[in-house]
Symmetry: C2
Subunit: 322 residues, 2 copies
C-alpha cells in the first residue's frame, strides 16, 4: 500500500474509514458479511475516500463527520466493481478470486445492490438532499458512461469526443464527486466547492488516460490483469484512436480493430502498431494537459499539508500509475 | 387495467405519476430513453404508487408533493424487475419481450442501476433523510430476501419461518414502505405512520402467499407466465412446504423437490401432490389471517373514500389476485 504515504495527513482518518467499512458489513446474513469482508480485505487504493478526506482536511482538523461519507463512497465504488465483474465475466481482481467467481452472478448482483443501498442509508444520516443529489447524479452519469462504452465496441468511427465522454463518466465523475462531497461538508463558498469538483474531475481524466496507456505498455504484474485487455474486449482507447488517424498502418489496424476475432488473436500486432504510431506520446500529452488543469485548481486552494499531498498525487498520476 | 377502478379516489394522481414517469426518462442517451419508455408502457399494476397516494389521500386533498415520491417508488420497482429478468434469464414479462431479451444483460444491469439512481435524485428533492433511510433500509431487506431465497433452492428443510422471511423481503417490505412514505408526507403522528406501515406489510404478505398459491392453481393466461414456474426453479413455497409436512406422498414429493431435474420433468406430478395434500387450503388460511390483520390496521384509519378503497383492495387480494 505504498500510496498510503501520499495520504499522510489523513492516514488516521483513512484507518477510521477502514474500520467503518468493516462495521457496516454486518447484516443478518452470514454469507453476505463474508463476501463484503473479502471485498474490503482485498484492499484497493481507497482513492475516493482519500480524496474526500484530503479535501475536507484543507478546511478543518476534525474529520469525524466526514468518515461515514468517505466510507459510503468507497462502498459505492466496491458495488460497481462487483457488478462489473459479473458483466465482464471476470474471475480475478487484484490477483484474488472475484465474488462472481466464488458465489456466482446472482449473488453478486444482489450484493452490489445491497452495498449501494447500505451506502444510501449512511448518506441518509446526513439529512442533506444536496449530498444525495450529487451522488445520484454521479451514479446516473456512470451508468450512461458504461452504456456509451458498450455501443462503442469495435466501432472505429468514435473519435476523441466520445472517448472523453466515456472516461469522464467511467472515472472522472466519481473522483470529482469525492472531492466535491468533502468540500460540501466544510463551511466554504459555492465557488470554492466548484474548485474542488473541477480538481477531482481533471485529475480523474488524467488518471484514466494514463490507465489506458498502461494497458498498452505495462506488464501484467503492474496492471494486476493481462495487458492489452482493452483491445481484447474491443475497447478502443486514446492511443488506438490516435493510431487509427495517424499511424502508418492505419488501414491494417482498422481491419484488426473492427473484428472481435482479430482483436483477440492479433493483440500483440495491434499493440505494436499503436506503439509505432506515436499514440502513446500523444495520449501522455493529453494526460499532462489534464494534470496541468488540475494543478491550476490546486493553486487556488488554501496552503497546507493536504494541498501539498494533492500536488504530489497529481505528479504521481502523470509519472506512473497507482 | 381493471384494478385502476380500485384506486378511483387517486385516479387523477395516478395519471400524474404516469406522466412523471415518462418525463423522468429523458437522459442524453436515446437508447436508454427508449428502453425506459418501453418499460413504462408495458404497464404494470402500479400498486406501489397507488398505495402511497391512497395513504396520503386519507389526510390531504392536494397530492402534488406526493407524486414525485410515488413515481420514484415505481421506478425502484421497475429497476428490480429489469435486474430480475437478467438474473432469471426471462425473455418475456407480461407477454412482452424483456429489456434483457432486446438489449442484453449488460445494458439491463446498467439500466436498472440508472433507474435506481434516478429515483434517488427524485428523493433528494425532498431533502429529508428519514425518507431516504426508510427506502435504503427496504432496498437492503429486498436484496437479503433474494439471497435467502437463493440459498433455499431445492432445500426441503426450510420451513414456515424461512418462507415468511423470504416473502416479507420479496413483497411485503416495498408495499409497507409505499404506505409508510405516503404517511410520512402528511402531518400525522409517528404512531399513525406505524399503522400504515403495518397495513402495507400485512397486505403484502397476504398478496405474496396468494401469488404463490396461484402459481399452483391458475392458468398461464392469468399469471402471464407458465404455471408451476416456482417449482421448475426449485422455489419451495407455502403450499409445497405444507405438503412436505402433511401430504400422503411426502416421501416421494421430497425426492422430486430436492432434484433440479425432477422439478422440471415432474412438475405436473408435483403440483398434483401439493393439491392433494390440502396445502392450497392451508396457504389460503394463512393469507386470510394476514388480510385480517391488515383490516385491523384499517379500522384505526380515518374514514373516507381511500379507506374504503383499501378495504376493497384487501378483499380483492384474498378473493382473486390482481
Amino acid at each position: 500500500m505504498e500510496n498510503f504515504s501520499l495520504f499522510a495527513s489523513v492516514a488516521d482518518d483513512l484507518a477510521a474509514v477502514e474500520e467503518k467499512l468493516k462495521a457496516y458489513t454486518c447484516s443478518s446474513l452470514e454469507i453476505m458479511n463474508r463476501a463484503s469482508l473479502q471485498l474490503i480485505e482485498a484492499g484497493g487504493k481507497r482513492l475516493r475516500p482519500a480524496f474526500t478526506l484530503l479535501t475536507a482536511k484543507m478546511y478543518k482538523e476534525d474529520l469525524r463527520d466526514v468518515i461515514p461519507l468517505a466510507a459510503a463512497l468507497e462502498m459505492i465504488h466496491m458495488a460497481t466493481l462487483v457488478h462489473d465483474d459479473v458483466i465482464d465475466n471476470s474471475l480475478t481482481r487484484r490477483g484474488q478470486a472475484t465474488v462472481k467467481n466464488i458465489w456466482g452472478n446472482r449473488f453478486s448482483i444482489y450484493l452490489g445492490n445491497h452495498m449501494f443501498a447500505r451506502s444510501l442509508s449512511i448518506i441518509a444520516g446526513y439529512n442533506r438532499g444536496d449530498l444525495l443529489e450529487v451522488l445520484a447524479d454521479a451514479s446516473m452519469k456512470i451508468c450512461e458512461g458504461e452504456i456509451i462504452q458498450m455501443f462503442g465496441w469495435y466501432n472505429l468511427n468514435l473519435g476523441m469526443k466520445n472517448y472523453l465522454q466515456r472516461i469522464q463518466r467511467k472515472t472522472a465523475v466519481l473522483l470529482s464527486v469525492s472531492c466535491a462531497l468533502g468540500a460540501m461538508l466544510c463551511d466554504i463558498s459555492e465557488g470554492q466547492i466548484v474548485l474542488h469538483k473541477k480538481f477531482g474531475y481533471y485529475l480523474g481524466m488524467a488518471y484514466q488516460v494514463i490507465d489506458d496507456i498502461l494497458d498498452f505498455v505495462a506488464d501484467e504484474k503492474i496492471l494486476g490483469k493481462p495487458s492489452g485487455s482493452d483491445i481484447r474486449q474491443g475497447v478502443i482507447t486514446l492511443p488506438a484512436i490516435y493510431a487509427l488517424r495517424r499511424g502508418e498502418n492505419k488501414e491494417e489496424l482498422a481491419c484488426w480493430l473492427s473484428s472481435p476475432e482479430k482483436c483477440r488473436e492479433r493483440v500483440n500486432d495491434i499493440i505494436g502498431a499503436v506503439l509505432d504510431s506515436g499514440g502513446i506520446d500523444y495520449a501522455y500529452g493529453v494526460a499532462r494537459a489534464f494534470c496541468e488543469r488540475a494543478m491550476r485548481q490546486l493553486d487556488k486552494m488554501p496552503p497546507g499539508a493536504p494541498k501539498e499531498e494533492f500536488m504530489k498525487i497529481t505528479e504521481f498520476v502523470i509519472n506512473r500509475n497507482f
